[in-house]
Amino acid sequence: MPEYQENSIIDQVDRIAESFYRLTLHAPLIAATARPGQFVMAACGPFLDPLLRRPFSIHRCNGSDTLQLLIRVVGRGTELLARCRPGQGLSLVGPLGQGFNPPAPSAPVCLIGGGIGIAPLLFWAERLKEHQPCTVPLLFWAERLKEHQPCTVLLGSRTGEDLLQLSAEFSQLGCRVETATDDGSLGHHGLVTDLLAARLSEVDKVYACGPMPMMAAVARSCRDAQVACEVSLEAHMACGLGACLGCTVHGAGGLYLHVCKKGPVVNAEEVAWDR
């Protein structure tokens, strides 16, 4: 798999909710090869403080020259990124890690995302709904897929404002969208995982990304219902390349998983959720 250290140019910065920013980047090397579920390591600026790059899953990608990152401001690094302006450069390393694996042709799937974990699901939903000549295993059935891959999207966040634009974008792709919010301001008042139970009997495969407790709940529900489940993991990491060995998660069987190389997308059965 090719990996690049690329100086991207920021095309656009959109604030799509109070603490959610969408960066649109001109990054032809990475955009041409990125697959849904993969991530990039983005520098927070040109200097050595903050020191480390931050991992971001690829939020959207046009398959040729442009990709988008969804950033929630949680600290200094993400605040600096949110303050970037069009025309500025932004150093990226990517595309990195393992992406989502395709479902069986025309099998109904469910994408479930919590908070910033929604980020990689839009790229995946776009790929599931539209034929993009990028993912080799998709090629031969992509046209049929366009018509027949039923896709339910469950989105959760703290408040409805976070989800307004994102849920509309999933709807425009032809996905059935349901929402849950902590404050009850949009959709179900409660956890997004509450919505999953009613859908599990209808779907062949679940793709989840969000906080660890949310993904643990999704993984348990899927195991009980014998539905295949892939999760996109998050961890602090210094390099994203398999060198620092910092991005460790407890794996099933007592071994450690490194999120950057083994993941970020793994089969839910590979994670020790009770650790």
Binding site: E3, L51, L52, C244
Partner: protein
């Protein structure tokens, strides 16, 4: 790029080990080399020091293992590695073709383990030298780190030297009161070269949760934050020993590297900077060449230890 470097001689010697240029990658920051192959032309580097190897595989510490700190990072990886046999079987094929020197970092929890490792790795094609990590605790001596007691550091050095004919570099821990005493002890015990510094022990706390940010509570501090300490220790050690010194600690640019060379280092290692800028080591090779050209020097050896003191 490149053309400037042809005008100057970048080659250096670490005792019996010659390098095409003085830029190495530091152990634990460059994997087994292959991890960076897409991003760095390894053949342009002086060498790669691979992730520390123990006799048996080690799983490492529970997460979280790393945390960012001002201009630096703390890590408590716990010496996770694949062990000597899998290293030789799975990792050496790539390293034999990488086009630069390969130095294997070794670690153990007894003097016997260091010696066994040195014996096992000697004669493996493609290994050009050993770097001995003495920052590990000595299990038989109640967990006191080998690298904090001169006699223990000397004993490890002697045992490794007796077990191998490869060049032996001993990597010093900065977590000592007298770095020069450590350096003199390993020099007297037969080390071919000394590298320093390993990470400084540090700690970070999350005030909100009142918890340590590392599962291991304490970890090793690296990155630009430690550069002034590293530079001071390299200068003190290089002034005190006759064997070559390799400078490590917060080197992110060619200028950083040159400062260590001026302080007396015969070579340098790029560590944490590899995480942030995978191209760093290659850029530093080019930058040293440009500096020498600007300074009118024909060889990098002319600037080693050429720090100007006094009026």
């Amino acid at each position: 790029m490149g053309s400037v470097n042809h005008a100057v001689d970048l080659s250096v010697s670490l005792g019996p080990l010659s390098l095409a240029n003085p830029v190495l990658t530091a152990s634990g920051t460059f994997g087994y080399g292959a991890e960076f192959a897409h991003l760095v032309p390894l053949a342009r580097l002086g060498g790669v020091v691979v992730k520390g190897i123990s006799l048996a595989p080690r799983p490492g510490n529970p997460p979280p293992r790393i945390v960012e700190t001002p201009c630096g990072m703390l890590n408590a990886i716990g010496l996770e590695n694949v062990g000597a046999e899998r290293f030789i079987a799975d990792k050496m094929d790539f390293l034999r073709t990488c086009g630069c020197r390969v130095i294997v970092n070794i670690l153990g929890d007894s003097i016997e383990e260091y010696a066994s490792l040195a014996t096992r790795l000697t004669g493996v094609a493609g290994i050009d030298g050993l770097e001995v990590n003495i920052s590990c605790p000595n299990v038989k001596k109640g967990g006191v780190a080998f690298g904090t007691v001169p006699e223990m550091a000397a004993a490890v050095t002697q045992a490794v030297k007796a077990a191998t004919d490869l060049p032996v570099i001993v990597k010093l821990s900065p977590n000592v009161t007298d770095i020069v005493a450590m350096a003199r002890a390993v020099e007297a015990a037969g080390a071919d070269a000394i590298s320093l510094i390993n990470t400084l022990i540090g700690m970070a706390i999350d005030a909100r949760t009142r918890r340590p940010r590392l599962a291991n509570v304490i970890g090793g501090l690296s990155g630009p934050a430690i550069k002034p300490i590293a530079l001071r220790m390299v200068w003190q050690v290089a002034s005190a020993v006759k064997i070559p010194v390799i400078g490590i600690g917060g080197i992110a640019t060619a200028e950083d590297a040159i400062e260590f060379l001026l302080a007396g280092a015969a070579a340098i290692q790029v560590g944490t900077a590899n995480f942030i800028n995978p191209a760093a080591a290659g850029q530093i090779v080019d930058g040293i060449g440009e500096y020498l050209h600007q300074q009118g020097e024909s060889s990098v050896r002319a600037i080693i230890g050429s720090l100007r003191l006094g009026a």
